[in-house]
Symmetry: C2
Subunit: 392 residues, 2 copies
């Protein structure tokens, strides 16, 4: 186990009907609140009104319309609103996109330059406005970490950034708010959580039983409860399991003491940057092909460990168990009606090479990852994703 | 899953050779430091000198001699020292006892009354001095939570207290510092960690897969690495697994959303209060007998889950798997030479009834626990602990 720092001071308020705690959570930071939200689902669900009812003692400014795969233009708009209104604290109400946009707004307000600088170069991030969020989607884990992902459609870039002061101060996690999430987004969110665990589980560091066993525990949670939530959208208990799992999957527990290099996310970011597809669906399509790429005689024991500890597979032949584990993973995605090919989400062969090159460059995939990749390797994974998956 | 708040803002600095970060960690709180430590093991190991070398810019006051099962007298002494020297921050250097004593000192300094009040009645705890610790023993989890256990030998009471402001601000966890821990204390510490997980795992709340799977993951870590550390005291990697597991076993992760009532700890606290035995050893002796007491047709599925997911036991007969799991647990304690009877730690039959009654009273064991106990039930468990364990 390598040295690590673990410092996750987010105050999690988990469960039903806790919005009456919102004024207390905000008031310590000030009176002027920028409320950031997305396309209107929180108005349809009634959450918007319930939030605003709690804000009668605050001066409220609103930034509406933050997109899935949030864009730097929305961030810039929020920065201007925050400066013009001398905002004290940001309240993000929505999914990971809304929280991520809010994080970069929070960091950009005191920054003397363009917000995109802070995405391109995280080391420029210093102070940030305090951020409180009310989460409505279980997926990204942003509610309990320092990361944000922002897209720039002008440059076809979707990049992650990070900063010590980007971690939310308070996160309200009410599983009931996720019961109105569509089947498609429930499946995609579950895929995203599972991918976060895969990205950190498949790493080269030895002597990390604790991190691996915790990751396996959370994988079992997602694998069990993702399909239940998919089939029974109102199942509060499975929504709760997914919601807390999404936070714990990416709050630093899994990679504390265990340096990891992510692979599938950087590749998927290129798909989203070029085609604006649903992130978790892109991950689901890519993951089995990446697993096949990474599987060899040296990595078979780890894939077999995944098969045995997560899927309960039996057998002494690591390679056979590993391949069965990949098949199980594919079947799990399919059980939630996630398409398993790129054409089904509108991606043709025309830009595979461009996206592959960009993924390697932006993701640094040639070293420090579980299975290093050159552009040709990524392109092969993308090309394999054009047709139905076969594990042989 | 029930509603919960999870707020664990301790800044964990885990790993080798991080003491150079100590001045930065302390300086934000002030210049006047009360250094609290135990019986001298930190002087023998050289840790004392390495710590003091970092404190040249601080005004240092020392409280030495804090006991295992820390006593209220030491706390009172610390409070006087802190007040007399206008202490800004407490630095605890040692095991759980030293940290626990420091927590109650920290809370008592601003309290206008006797420190024992705050142990008897946690609701009296309000503000506290900031606390930084350097841990030398993996066991209690106090380094990442709000709890403290203090003994009063005059009244034969060993009681836990808790308060929002008792959580350490910064905890330095260097597994290498635990390599000098004796085999006896290594075994006892591992037993303590495992018991924390048991206390929270065996609960009546339904729909807590996440909490249960996480607990099982940490149990597997302790069960694997406790005996390795016992047999190879210098094995850094196993010391690291135990150290981080001890923090995560009792930092709120396991009981978030899952109300739990502890049973074995309250009973053991009476053993320690009356006989000053090693806490983790008392837990090890009591645990198998408690498991047998709690095992019935209704609880067999949970004990069988423990057997299957933690010990890898096979078979469809829950009761048979459950009993095998208890046998495995006993064998695990014995593999680290932990005695399995009370006479071996110097406890005879003379006070079993008194301790049983006190445990039920102090621990509230008649309701809200996994298997409610009357004084006669506790006495039967203690009486069963007089002879070698047999699971039939």
């Amino acid at each position: 186990m390598e040295n690590f720092r673990f410092f996750v001071p987010t105050d999690i308020r988990f469960g039903r009907d806790r919005l009456s705690e919102l004024p207390e959570a905000l008031a310590k930071f000030g009176k002027r609140v920028l409320v950031v939200y997305g396309g209107g689902s929180i108005k349809r669900s009634g959450l918007y009104e319930r939030v605003m009812n709690q804000l009668s003692d605050f001066e409220v400014t609103e930034l509406a319309g933050v997109e899935p795969n949030p864009r730097i233009d929305s961030v810039r708009e929020g920065v201007k609103l925050a400066r013009d209104n001398k905002i004290d604290v940001i309240l993000a109400v929505g999914g990971g996109s809304v929280v991520d946009a809010s994080k970069v707004i929070a960091a950009s307000v005191p920054y003397d330059g363009d917000a995109w600088d802070l995405v391109k170069n995280p080391s420029l991030i210093d102070m940030a406005l305090p951020l409180v969020d009310i989460l409505t989607l279980s997926a990204t884990g942003t509610e309990m970490n320092r990361n944000a992902v922002i897209s720039n459609m002008e440059t076809n870039e979707k990049l992650g950034t990070t900063g010590m002061n980007l971690i939310p101060q308070v996160s309200f996690l009410d599983p009931a708010e996720t019961q109105t999430v569509s089947k498609w987004q429930t499946a995609a969110g579950s895929s995203d959580i599972l991918s976060h665990l895969f990205e950190q589980y498949f790493a080269r560091t030895a002597n990390v039983d604790l991190q691996d066993f915790l990751a396996e525990a959370l994988m079992k949670v997602v694998i069990k409860h993702g399909p239940i939530a998919f089939n029974e959208p109102d199942n509060y208990e499975s929504r709760a399991e997914l919601m807390w799992a999404s936070s714990l999957a990416l709050n630093g527990l899994e990679n504390a003491g265990k340096p990891v290099g992510w692979t599938v996310h950087p590749i998927e970011h290129e798909l989203s940057a070029f085609y604006d597809i649903t992130h978790g669906v892109g991950l689901a399509i890519l993951t089995p092909r990446w697993m096949e790429y990474a599987l060899d005689e040296k990595t078979a024991p780890k894939f077999a460990q995944y098969g045995r500890n997560v899927w309960g597979l039996q057998g002494d032949d690591d390679m056979a168990v590993a391949k069965d584990a990949i098949r199980k993973t594919i079947a799990w995605y399919q059980s939630m009606d996630i398409p398993m090919t790129l054409p089904e989400v509108g991606i043709d062969e025309s830009k595979l090479d461009v996206m592959a090159a960009a993924a390697v460059e932006h993701g640094g995939l040639t070293q420090g990852v579980y299975a290093p990749m050159q552009p040709a390797d990524v392109e092969a994974v993308l090309r394999a994703s054009m047709t139905a998956p076969v594990v042989d």
